[in-house]
Every structure is written in structure tokens, then in C-alpha cells.
């Protein structure tokens, strides 16, 4: 399987990363190298092998469904490039 420039552009869009047109070709080459390197995984017999979901044999802990934190919106937005009245501000989404 080989990625072409159009596919790389599509992946970049899915990842929301702007990639300049002139870099797509080189990037496709690099990604194809990596994909052909990982191709060897198909040699491994994985019939009846469960995919790993956790390295430690432990169940996820549960906790009470309670609010235990919060109430400081100014602290939450303090690093925002743009904030207004305790909210994050973004470019207009709805016309």
C-alpha cells in the first residue's frame, strides 16, 4: 500500500494540520517508509491472540459520580489565547 500526495493531504486535513503543498511529496515518501517498515507485523501469527488493552492486569477503578472539583473559570481560561467572561472564545462558527 502506498500513500500518494492526495491521501497525505486528506490525512493532514483529518488531523487538522495545514501542510504546504510543496511538502506533500516528501512527506508521502517518509510516511510510506514507515508504513513499509511496520508491514512486517503481518508475519506474526496473531490468531487467537487478544489485542492488548492494558499492560497491568487491573480493573478500572470506579468512583462516586460526584462533582469534586471546579468553580474557578478564570483559572481555567487563564492560558487561553482569547477568552471572554470566563469562556473560551473562538472564531464565529454559526452564521
Amino acid at each position: 500500500m502506498s500513500l500518494d500526495k492526495a491521501t497525505v493531504a486528506k490525512i493532514a486535513h483529518l488531523a487538522r494540520i495545514k501542510v504546504p503543498e510543496e511538502e506533500l511529496g516528501h512527506l508521502a515518501g517518509e510516511l510510506n517508509n514507515i508504513l513499509s517498515f511496520v508491514e512486517q507485523l503481518n508475519e506474526v501469527d496473531t490468531g487467537n491472540v487478544p489485542p492488548m488493552t492494558s499492560v497491568a492486569a487491573q480493573k478500572l477503578r470506579r468512583r462516586q459520580d460526584q462533582v469534586t472539583d471546579g468553580g474557578y473559570p478564570q483559572d481555567i481560561v487563564r492560558n487561553a489565547p482569547e477568552a471572554a467572561e470566563g469562556y473560551f472564545a473562538v472564531p464565529k462558527v454559526v452564521e
Binding site: A15, I34, P50, A56
Partner: protein
Amino acid sequence: MTQLTHLTMADALKGLAEKQFTAVELTEAHVRAVEKARPLNAFITETPDKALEMAKASDARRAKGEAGPMDGLPIAVKDLFCTKDVLTTAASHILDGFQPGYESTVTSNLWRDGAVMLGKVNLDEFAMGSANITSYYGDVINPWSPGEPGNWPRKLVPGGSSGGSAAAVAARVALGATGTDTGGSIRQPAAFTGIVGIKPTYGRCSRWGVVAFASSLDQAGPMTRTVRDSAIMLRSMCGFDPKDSTSVDMPVPDFEKAITGDIRGLRVGIPKEYRVDGMPAEIEEMWRKGIEWLKAAGATPVDISLPHTKYALAAYYIVAPAECSSNLARYDGVRYGLRVEGNSLNEMYENTRGAGFGKEVRRRILIGTYVLSAGYYDAYYLQAQKVRTRIKWDFDQAFEQCDVILTPTAPSGAFAIGEKMDDPIQMYLNDVFTVPVNLAGLPGMSIPAGLGADGLPLGLQLIGKPFDEETLFRVGGVIEDAAQFTATPPFVA
């Protein structure tokens, strides 16, 4: 009096307890070292005022008889740990100006025990790299680089991603440093700079407040100049944290007590698959020496097989990018860091992320996005997770025949900036011996074992059973005693 910056943590604690010097004096010496070491580019942010303030508070605690287990010890913090009100960058442009309103659990634990923060140290961007050459804040120089310091004819890499941590500890700038290890990022730089580094079992150290790269692989750990110092520092760093759902609720052993020197009867596994093609003879020789040392101390070497070792890197380069593409989705120009405006919300996202991520991070996000995308998930991600299970099974079986595994840490010593850079795969091969440990969630330690032919440090790696860090400390102590690694780098601050 011995130079304060050359002390081990254990000796510094003794000196403080015996009032040979104060925490302020110890910290002042290290603050000067931080300044002197600037040519290494190890620090992204220096925090001398904070360090002195913490040192003063430490002296006050000690005067009242309330000193903690690390009280007064100046350390460096990898800039992947969130530190309250102190710039935290992950060495990425995209986190420009980010000052967390909270402190990571691991650093909170260190401050609780009295440690003093010298500053935030450099790393590969988002911890993605094996040479500390992908940082937005520039390359870190290995203090072992030959030639006149500051005017190096050939600049060596310190390894990565915890390259700033490794350089700072090796150059006697900090008594220890925090690192994080996703595929070898503590152990490989430790080996490249002649220091000790341990990645504990997955779940030992809380990941809360550590900038996430690949959540199922990331673990924090200490980097120090001796095995004992790593034991002291790890004990402070780990412990149960309800804020990390994968944190393990287990008592934290006194790791120092495990360093008994007695390894009689211990079975040491030697995996045949770690004899890789093209491995330099000096690495092979170091490994052979390591086996002899342990034998001389009464341990029994056992030949073992880890048959899926050769697939570990390939599995890693699917699992890690997949998790990174998901984790790094949060950097969108809305909540923190860089924003590059656009005509729409989507365009703002794309512009911000296009400008904010470096090339290696971008490459991994794109690979991760691809292998998780519809139609490819089973072929890549699911297959990789199944191979990961087989790698884990290999270790489970091996540990029926042995108590600990001994391997080289990396297939080479430090290389120069500019080498191994044309092909990402070539760089990835650095982690061939360390990555399987992360995939299986096991503890791994690198101990300096000696110098190679070119005078550069080489490390040996110990791999343990889950939550059996104590055996690593015990065996690590024996290797340390046998190796008598006393060499110091050409650049010492």
C-alpha cells in the same frame, strides 16, 4: 570541602543532616552551575529565585526537625511535567506561554519531600525523539562531546527524549532530574551520558499533570548519578494517585533497602534475540562483562528467548503515533498556547497546528491518524496491539526461567548531531532494546557500565518483573560496584 555539585544525593543528605552546609549553600552552588552550563542548552527555563526560596524553606524545616526524605536536594524537571505558574512547553512551539494552574502529581510528591527545583529542562518535542534534536528550543549538547567545551568540533547528542535531564545530571548541574520514558526516553539518554535511569513499572508513577504522548506507554522516572540516588528519588516520585485511573494502589517500597549487594542464586536471563546484526563489538563486549560481573557475585546466567523482539519497534511505531494523534488533538489554539488566526474555526485549527508542531511530531500525528482511520484500524492498530500481547507473553514466559533480564541499553553509544537524521527509521532503531519494555509495561533500568573505544559511556539495561523494581536496584547496585564507573565528562559545570 568537596565540591557541592559533585555530591551524590545520599552524600548531600548526609552533609545537610550533619550541618556541613545548608540547603541554600547547596542550591547556590547548583544555580551557578546552571548558569555555567548554558552552552549545553539543557534548560528551557531556569528558576533560580524559586530554587533559593525553596532552599530557604528547606533549611527552616530542617531546623525544626521536619526534613523530608529529599529535603534540600536541587533537581531539574523535564519540561513535560506541569509546574504551577512556571512555563511548561513540552519543547513545542504550540505550547507558547503556557503556565499551568496546577502541579503534576510527581513533582508535587518531590516538593512534598523537600526537593528544590532548579528549572525546567529541554527534551525532544512532546518527548518524541531519541537524540534531543527535535526541540523547538534547540538541540541539547552531550557534555561528553570531545574537544574544547563550548567550541566543540563535533557535538554529540545526549540521547532523548530526556536529553536535557541527562545532560544536566551528567554535567553536575543537578543532583538528579525527572525523566519520562515512552520507548526508552529515560534509559537511552542515561546510557549516552553515563548516568543511571529507571523507568518503573507502568502504573507506579502517576501520569497526572505530565503532558501526554502515548498514554499506555508513558512512565515517569528518576535520572541520577548513582543507583542509590535513583532509589531515593523514585521512592518520592511514585505512589497511588486517584487522579490517574491507571495509577496502581500499592505500597511504595523503600527501594534503598533493596541495595544489599547480595544476588547469590539470582537467575539472570540473557535473551539471544538482543544480539542484533551490526551491533558494535564493544557493545557485545560490555554485555559479556556484565554477565561475568553478575556471575562473580553469585548469580546464574540463563539463556532465554524473547522471540517477538524483532517486531517490537514496528508495533511501537503504530501504537505510539496512534495514541499521540489522539492525545495531541487537544492543541487547537483554543485553550492554551499558540493560536494562528484563520477565516473559520477549522482554518484556525489547521493554521495553529501547522505552525505549532515540528516535523517529527507532525509525522507521528499523521501516521497515527492514518492507522486509526476507517478501513485501516484492523490492519494496523489492532494487529499491533495483538503483537504487543505476544511480546508481553514472551516476557511472562521468560520470567518463569529467570528473575531479571540483562541486555545492553542501546545498540550504540552517543552519535553526533547530524548523523542518523535522513531516515526516521534509522533513528527509531536506537530504541530497539528499550521499546519492548514499554510495550510490556515492565520496569527497566540503565546503569553506566564503562567507556567505549571512543571514550563515550555505554549502559547496561536490567529488565524486571512487574512491580519488582527492588530486584533492579539490587542487581543495579552490584553492576555499579563492579563497573566502578568514575569517569566524568569533559564538560563539568
